[in-house]
Amino acid sequence: MSTPLTVAPAPLAPSTDQYEAETAELTRTYASHGGVWGWITSVDHKSIGKRYIATCFAWFALAGVNAAIMRLQLARPESHIVGPDRYNQLFTVHGSAMMFLFAVPVMTAFATYLIPLMVGTREVAYPRLNSFGYYTFLIGGLFLFVGLYTNTGPDTGWFAYVPLSGPEYAPGKRVDVWAQVVTFTEIAALVAAVEMIVTILKMRAPGMSLNRIPLYVWSILVVSFMIVFAMPSVAMASTMMLAMDRLVATHFFNRAEGGDPLLWQHLFWFFGHPEVYIMFIPGLGFVSSIIETFTGRKIFGYPVMVMSLIVTGFVAFGLWVHHMFATPIPQLGRTLFTAASVLIAVPTGAQIFCWIATIWSGRPRYTAAMLFALGFIVVFTIGGMTGVMIASVPFDLQVHDTYFIVAHFHYVILGGVVFPLFGACYYWFPKITGRLMSERLGKWHFWLFFVGVNVTFFPMHLLGFDGMPRRVYTYLPEMGWGRLNLLATVGSWVIAASVIVFVVNVVRSWTSGVVAGPNPWRAPGLEWATTSPPPAWNFHPVPVVEGRAPLWESGDELPVATGLATDRREVLITTALDAEPDNRHEHPGESHWPLAMAIAVGVTFIGAIFTPWAYVVGFALSAVAFAGWGWPRGTHPEDELAPGKVPDTRRSA
């Protein structure tokens, strides 16, 4: 369908008076209810993004406390700080929370805040769905930790292998808590993925064609597509198969009745391996943003960077069997999966080389954000190297399920997720709060974290070689693992100290940091073209993009498109490839129905731990929430469709 030329060049920018009148009207249009009710009913992506980020960091802290207790327990042999039953809950909840409640959703959280700003629009595609996703996620996280603190924490590992997690060997409700937490977080992740895909493909500022999208936005686009194809696998396996085996005695994994424990492993890792890339690809996007700004030049090799992200996204689905080398897998399969696991290092390597070239040809400024971006390269590369090694079947069979693997993936995740994430905090904090974080504390934070990570996790490589398996609550003194474990425990204290420095920095800077202004870093992205923090409507008038680094290229005059309504929450929809203006879409206002829907979903899945009838009740409750959500409010009589009205050719275009 060709787009008729409905956009006429407007030679004149709005006059100051008109601009102020429009801003006043936008303030009324985007007014919140205020107070707690305003917070509950808010559909503003920035409000939701902020609480999403804060919630993720809260789970990070709680899961980190689990880790600290585990490190204390392992600091010496035959320690009795916690017993095996408690320890197994601690490590399961640590892993599950870090994966399902922190590493993936914190990327969603940042994207929720940043993506509309970075593509130059006023909102995400479906604001109420966004709010629903957040509440669902919140319920899931609360459920997991309430479970842990009431001695009902899952205790069969974050991978919940059957038959250990099945009805026979895991009676009680612990594994059910795990299965439903997975359900909640996967619903939230899938909702956010659709949200991001449509926001990025259909709501970009005019002129932001695909070859001008910021690399971070590309990374979120790739990851969102990966979520769409990865998450259904674990959601199905946990909600529809494991939970049903436990609740209504189906036999999906029961070997005696023709079920298959390996089916669980296939479904879990078909999700679980892409999950690793889902976590760190947004990290690569953060690093690109930070390096671009702090070298003052566009990232070298943009097409290579984009292709690398896309290739990684595809190949990530061809690696899952390398978690299953110790199970009966045909030889040919093993070879293919080894080859894919080795070669996936190439695109990431290419990106690292492009960043190095960017630094070489730029003017690097070593801010805290930049240090974290560089720390990412230094730490993550080690994890990448060991990752290539364990693609080898014979080598993997030696180190699989040992502390070598623990070391490997902490280098990958802390290097690939947490370093870029901290960098992103320093980088975008001024946009979110309007104030800069302390650089001095930031550098303390960086160096403590850098040292802590290496002291904690490097010795674990060696422990793995010397035979220490994962997921053991203690070990015998004669195994000789005490000294390196003690060292790792000391390292964990350094990490804890660095996180405390970070929290202090956030709190102090939020209240009394230096006022940042719209663009404190002289950055090129559209998110810096509005005030810090941005108004509820982000942009007015909406920006127009003429190159890959809009603010560097536009000089002191920002090209804009005028004419978007100010008396309703209107957003501009553009074409998917070239981002040409196509139509205007009205967004809904504040609503409490997303929370109602999340509660209905919460009742359903928490109730389903106890009785299958919860699905019936939950379905009815959800239908009610659905009706409340969708029922027309009739706020604009002029939009109403009267009987016999014919299509307005101008409006339907």
Binding site: P11, A125, P206, G258, L558, G563, P581, E586, W631, A653
Partner: protein
């Protein structure tokens, strides 16, 4: 804003009601079609995986499923595509009366199809979910698709009510066409699953 603004285009003339892939609600529908379609494909993959564990499918002493009700259902589903397409065209014409009638017919079809699905589960399958892994996975595939059908029925019925009694806005016409698009997905995704659940046991 500190930067000066240079107006380069005016958006006032753009339409605010559009249909099909120009509308972002269509894209959202597509997103959920992808997710749910892939989930159903994974259910089918799990089904095929589990067939390997049995020398015969269905296992010994488990009766074959009946194909009568499922075949009737498939026919009803295919027939329902005609009024669905008609409703979609009526919506694009802004023909409120026709859309009302179309949605009412669609709701009737929806109720019939969900009813037939309940019959399939309880009668045609001839196996309970806890009999063996065969029974479990039969219920998984039918149940997963049935859940989507039930949710869609609520949506269709809700939309019908909106069109009869609520202040209908022009944008709801676009929503009707997206719903029809989703209905096509519901019907087309069922065809391979129908063959899988009701005919494959006869061939294996």
């Amino acid at each position: 804003m500190t930067q000066r603004l240079r107006g380069v285009m005016d958006l006032r003339g753009l339409p605010d009601v559009v249909f099909g892939s120009r509308d972002i609600m269509w894209w959202g529908t597509l997103g959920f079609v992808l997710i749910e379609g892939f989930t159903l494909a994974l259910c089918a993959a799990a089904y095929l995986y589990l067939t390997q564990n049995f020398p015969t499918w269905p296992p010994q002493n488990t009766p074959l499923p009946s194909v009568v009700a499922p075949t009737v259902q498939v026919v009803v589903m295919l027939v329902s595509l005609v009024p669905a397409a008609w409703t979609s065209r009526a919506a694009r014409r802004y023909d409120l009366g026709a859309v009302r009638i179309g949605l009412t017919i669609a709701t009737a079809f929806g109720i019939a199809i969900v009813g037939l699905r309940a019959w399939e589960l309880l009668v045609s399958l001839n196996v309970k979910w806890d009999a063996n892994a065969y029974g479990s996975v039969q219920w998984l595939v039918l149940g997963a698709h049935a859940t989507l059908l039930a949710v869609e029925l609520v949506e269709i019925a809700g939309m019908m009510l909106i069109f009869w009694i609520a202040p209908v806005e022009e944008k709801h016409l676009s929503d009707v066409t997206d719903m029809v698009f989703y209905w096509y997905f519901m019907v087309l995704s069922w065809l391979p699953l129908y063959v899988l659940c009701f005919w494959l046991p006869r061939w294996l």
